[in-house]
Symmetry: C2
Subunit: 208 residues, 2 copies
Amino acid sequence: MKSSAAAESLPRLTAGERTRQSILDVAVDLASVEGLDGLTIGRLATELDMSKSGLFAHFGSKEELQLATIEAAKHRFAAEVVAPALKAKRGLPRLSALCKEWIGYGQDSVFPGGCFFAAAAAEFDSRPGLVRDRIAEAMDQWIDMLRIAVRKAIEEGDLLSSIDSEQLAFEINAMLMAANFDFQLHDDKKAFDRAKKGIDRLLHHASA
Amino acid sequence: MKSSAAAESLPRLTAGERTRQSILDVAVDLASVEGLDGLTIGRLATELDMSKSGLFAHFGSKEELQLATIEAAKHRFAAEVVAPALKAKRGLPRLSALCKEWIGYGQDSVFPGGCFFAAAAAEFDSRPGLVRDRIAEAMDQWIDMLRIAVRKAIEEGDLLSSIDSEQLAFEINAMLMAANFDFQLHDDKKAFDRAKKGIDRLLHHASA
DNA sequence: CCTACCGATCGGTAGG
DNA sequence: CCTACCGATCGGTAGG
């Protein structure tokens, strides 16, 4: 027998899978700066010191590369924002943690060109297709996470029962997105302070 | 003498200037959908039933075409949003009118791909150059207009003197931008209702 | 405003 | 994973 499949369940990756992962790490960074369409196979191959066709063989089409890049970005977002926030206990603490972790994610430039999903949504919102659908799905999942955290905060008695969870999630996300674009355009982190201040006031007014 | 320069001061345009204007009308619409970079000279020429080089001669470079397109988009925005809002009297009425006109501008798809400036800012925020600078300038002018309207509303006694005009302008704009991106991604106008509701509450809490 | 062209780069393929 | 290639399109130019 060649190897024990049962041992070390996760890090057991084939060489091809490892190459694919390192391609996607670079692809995510490149796409956050140049856009998901500006992410060209030639450019990415140069960045990785590979041949175009060698890289291409891992994906089969540009669309598949784009979809795989979105998937890799989702994993990075989950690790950097969602996972830390889930350590806070449910209710208002977790809602606050989601906002705090998102602001940290923006400030620390987890993606070098700013929030991957905000940029990709703006780029693809007028181009029907699988890429657009997956980006919209990722955005919806994030807003949904905020909305559910608001609802739990209401259930825990931390927020007023009269609060419209969908409306509050929309407004919180609006502050975060605005901070992201403001920061990208002006390279001034006070945009995140403004978002923080706006969200603090939103949560204060929603509190019992 | 060929013509009286003094008569009809504005509509006196040369044939070249009229052609240029009709090119830019199409360029603005195309760019709002495909992006300012996706606005290619070949694509634009096809749309206008012109030769590439004939169109190119009006601008001299792609960057000049992009800059002229931004200028044309600013004019459309000024006519559709700013001018109507300036009919309202200074203070809170004008601030409310700016928000109302902006929401109308979004709902009516004055640019077929959504707010031209929001899309262009997201597209170019990581690409240094003249195009990026002009877009940032246009965005700053809009936020500044909101900020000044807030300040006037404070001076008129319509809003509390404790209000931070820059912060409020940021938060109002955040609602508008979020509604724009939400609408582009979901094609559901309830995003504008959410923005309206959020802004109404912002202004209510800021009122004396 | 046109035809005719340039070198560079795009996504993708053949064949190994 | 590679070399070598394809047709299409890019921004831009020559010359009229």
